[in-house]
């Protein structure tokens, strides 16, 4: 594959590549990588890989799959795992790690993350699991992070109504009410996602958890030390419910449950607008109408934290983790490669990649808004990973989703929702 950026040009940290190249030579070796990125994303990751191949002489075969999670389980169980698997969910990774299907990374890597990643400890914690033997090891290298605490809006529409970007959670609620009072609909929400229908609602709850309870309680919730049916969680679900009130959601709450998450932001761009705000992660611009320019036609603001309390600026995110499922020297080399700033810059320069890597050149971002996004990540006082991705699959990719759908349509209240999820979790533990 061609190198997308000429070596030595631009604001990239080419020296990091050179240094890496001089220390690693894997000519003739090949590594297989599978991951969840497909389509355009697959091309992007390939463009990064190309530099690794160029530097080491190894050949790398990346294949992306929409059903990555199923495929990786099958292939590890059937002993035909790739060298590296890119996990979008730590939950599955920890499962496989505990079965011994994943090779732990060296301790230096953990050290490196601590030093070079913003909020490094939380990243190391995130990728550290109990291995087959029972001791905790770092099993994966986090790379490419999504920020989820974002609200998207069309500045021109805000302008027209004379609206201001809210600074606090309270203001956000006020803003919602203001828009509604104007006779407009404030929010577009869409939970539809085929088999995964419901996950956008879990992001809402997680963000609201971070804004109503302490990070420690959030962690407790993730590990179910804090029950789903507890007051705290039910409260967060209830907060989400507040936004679903009549007149707040385009099409009404029932429609929200089935509208495809990819289609729901289109309401922002209608005339008259069907809604004024849409809460979604960094990836959503892919689904904006063709030609929409982020920063001009559409913009985002940080889903604000409450003024009261001292929760700071919590950021909810997700991310992918590179783990070794079939060890080899070149494989190790690839993990090392991911530590070079260049590995982050190449993708970041093409848009779509955010990274907590503090060593990268800020100039590579293609737009201010990208840089601003990355800043959210770099400036986060608290970073928390998407809770549903951390919970066991049956909950995080099962009961949590489906029960949130039920809640969203209004067929059950927050308490019942929390209890239903909790009972599934209880059933899991026996």
């Amino acid at each position: 594959q061609d190198l997308v950026f000429e070596k030595g040009e631009g604001a990239f940290s080419w020296d990091s590549l050179e240094e890496f190249a001089s220390n690693n030579d894997f000519s003739g070796e090949s590594i297989d990588i599978t991951g969840p990125w497909t389509g355009a994303d697959a091309e992007l990751v390939n463009s990064v890989i190309a530099y690794f191949e160029d530097a080491t002489g190894a050949s790398v075969n990346y294949s992306g799959s929409d059903s990555f999670e199923q495929d990786i389980v099958i292939s590890t169980e059937a002993n035909s795992a790739p060298n590296i698997a890119v996990f979008p969910q730590p939950g599955l990774l920890s499962d496989l790690a505990s079965r011994g299907a994943v090779t732990p990374l060296e301790d230096e890597t953990a050290e490196w993350i601590r030093e070079n990643y913003a909020a490094g400890d939380s990243w190391v914690d995130l990728a550290t699991f109990e291995g087959e033997g029972g001791e905790d090891r770092l099993f994966a290298f986090p790379y490419k992070i999504d920020v989820k605490s974002l609200v998207w809006y069309v500045p021109e529409q805000f302008e027209e109504l004379g609206l201001e970007v809210p600074e606090t959670y309270e203001e956000l609620k006020e803003l919602t009410q203001t828009i509604a009072d104007e006779g407009e609909t404030p929010w577009c929400i869409g939970l539809g996602s085929g088999a995964a229908t419901g996950w956008p609602a879990t992001d809402w709850v997680e963000d609201l958890m971070l804004r109503t309870v302490s990070p420690e309680q959030y962690d407790a919730w993730v590990s179910n030390e804090l029950d789903f049916s507890s007051e705290e969680v039910v409260n967060a679900i209830g907060e989400y419910g507040w936004f679903l009130q009549d007149g707040y959601v385009s099409g009404g709450r029932e429609a929200a449950a089935t509208t495809d998450f990819r289609d729901s932001p289109s309401g922002l761009f209608q005339f008259p607008p069907e809604c004024y705000m849409h809460k979604q992660a960094t990836f959503i611009p892919t689904f904006f109408p063709e030609g929409t320019v982020v920063g001009e036609d559409v913009d985002f603001f940080y889903f604000p934290a409450p003024e009261s309390g001292d929760l700071g600026q919590p950021v909810l995110g997700g991310g992918t983790m590179f783990a070794i499922t079939e060890d080899s020297e070149a494989t190790r080399g690839f993990i090392d490669f991911l530590q070079t700033p260049l590995a982050h810059e190449i993708w970041a320069a093409q848009g779509g990649l955010l990274t907590p890597h503090t060593g990268i050149s800020q100039d590579v971002f293609p737009s201010d808004s990208q840089r601003a996004l990355n800043d959210i990540l770099l400036n986060a006082t608290t970073f928390r990973f998407d809770a549903s991705d951390l919970m066991p699959g049956e909950i995080g990719a099962g009961a949590f989703w489906t029960q949130m759908v039920e809640f969203t349509t209004g067929s059950q209240d927050a308490q019942a929702t929390g209890e239903a999820i909790q009972s599934r979790w209880d059933a899991l533990q026996n």
């Binding site: 085929g194 099409g251 089935t258």
Partner: protein, 326 residues
């Protein structure tokens, strides 16, 4: 083009290998192992004939045993263990399944699917096969009705999104409703109970083509003279169809019915992509997928429940097979 060549060679080897096996094994049996000559000719022939069925059956049985029976047995064992493959729970998975309300919903829904989809597909397929039978453009009509068969389930679900979508601008149903003057669009996927039926419509839409193809072949196999005799006996087309044709292809109807039933028990893509199992539309296979590769113990337990659901159909089939074997 070397790729094509490679493909062709692989095809030749694959198919040739198969034919070769049958031909050679037969030859060896008859020529060398039990040659039909010499003093033991009678005994040899009998032995060869006792062996031959197994020769014919061997590849099929081998493949079935290796790829299906063995996993089934393995899975059954697995279903006795918990989430952790080392933790034996006996029938615990089954017990907790039957206690779970999600499971009960799926079971009930599945029950509906198993009754309605095969019945409707078979019936419509039969009617189409009959109606198009001596129509000048029958083949065209059949091809058009067959077309959904050729569309992948995901494609099919997409198509039906254009029908069901909760938006008068995208969904046909809501567009029609809007035209008729209804104000608010409804989400047909959220109408309790009925949403199941709407999902079934999709599978019926797909499977009718299959039923039609097989039944139309069967209809054409009916001895024409019996039909002529019935025409002379004064049977009207209706009676001809229900009293002469249908009973004569009953065996095929059973086959079609069974095949579709089994498909229903395996297919989860439609539910999966249309509702993700929400709004009370979960069925056993999609419920199973929730656990598959996560809690294999429970997933396999559900798989066995699915197999039990089909037991009546199996018994029906075995009966039919017995009947004709006399």
């Amino acid at each position: 083009m070397p790729v094509i060549l490679q493909g062709l060679i692989t095809i030749l080897i694959g198919v040739g290998g198969c034919v070769g096996y049958f031909y050679l094994s037969n030859l060896i049996l008859d020529r060398f192992i039990f040659p039909a000559k010499g003093e033991n000719i009678g005994r040899n022939i009998n032995r060869a004939n006792a062996v031959r069925p197994w020769l014919f059956l061997f590849p099929a049985m081998f493949v079935l045993g290796l790829y299906l029976v063995y996993p089934v047995v393995g899975s059954f064992v697995r279903s006795l263990y918990g989430r952790n493959p080392n933790e034996f729970v006996g029938l615990g998975n089954y017990i907790s399944l039957f206690g779970s309300s999600d499971f009960q919903t799926s079971f009930f829904n599945n029950f509906l699917w198993v009754i309605i989809v095969p019945a409707a597909s078979t019936f419509i397929g039969l009617v189409v096969a009959q109606l198009t039978d001596n129509l000048s453009w029958g083949n065209l009509a059949k091809s058009l009705i067959f077309m959904p068969m050729a569309i992948s389930f995901v494609g099919a679900s997409l198509i039906w999104k254009f029908v069901y979508a909760n938006d008068a601008d995208i969904g046909l149903i809501n567009a029609i409703r809007a035209m008729l003057g209804f104000e608010n669009p409804i989400d047909v996927m959220q109408i309790p109970f009925w949403n199941n039926l709407f999902l079934m419509v999709i599978l019926i839409w797909i499977q009718t083509g299959f039923a039609m193809v097989i039944l139309s072949a069967a209809l054409r196999g009916i001895p024409e003279e019996t039909i002529e005799a019935a025409i002379l006996d004064g049977a009207n087309p209706w009676q001809l169809f229900f009293k002469i044709k249908v009973p004569q292809i009953m065996a095929t109807i059973v086959v079609v019915w069974t095949t579709i039933t089994i498909l229903v028990l395996k297919v989860f893509d439609i539910v999966y992509t249309m509702t993700g199992g929400n709004f009370g539309t979960e069925i056993l296979p999609s419920y199973m997928m929730d656990f598959m590769f996560r809690d294999d113990g429970r997933a396999t337990a559900i798989a066995f429940v699915i197999m039990i659901v089909v037991l009546p159909v199996m018994i029906w089939n075995i009966r039919e097979a017995r009947k004709e074997m006399r």
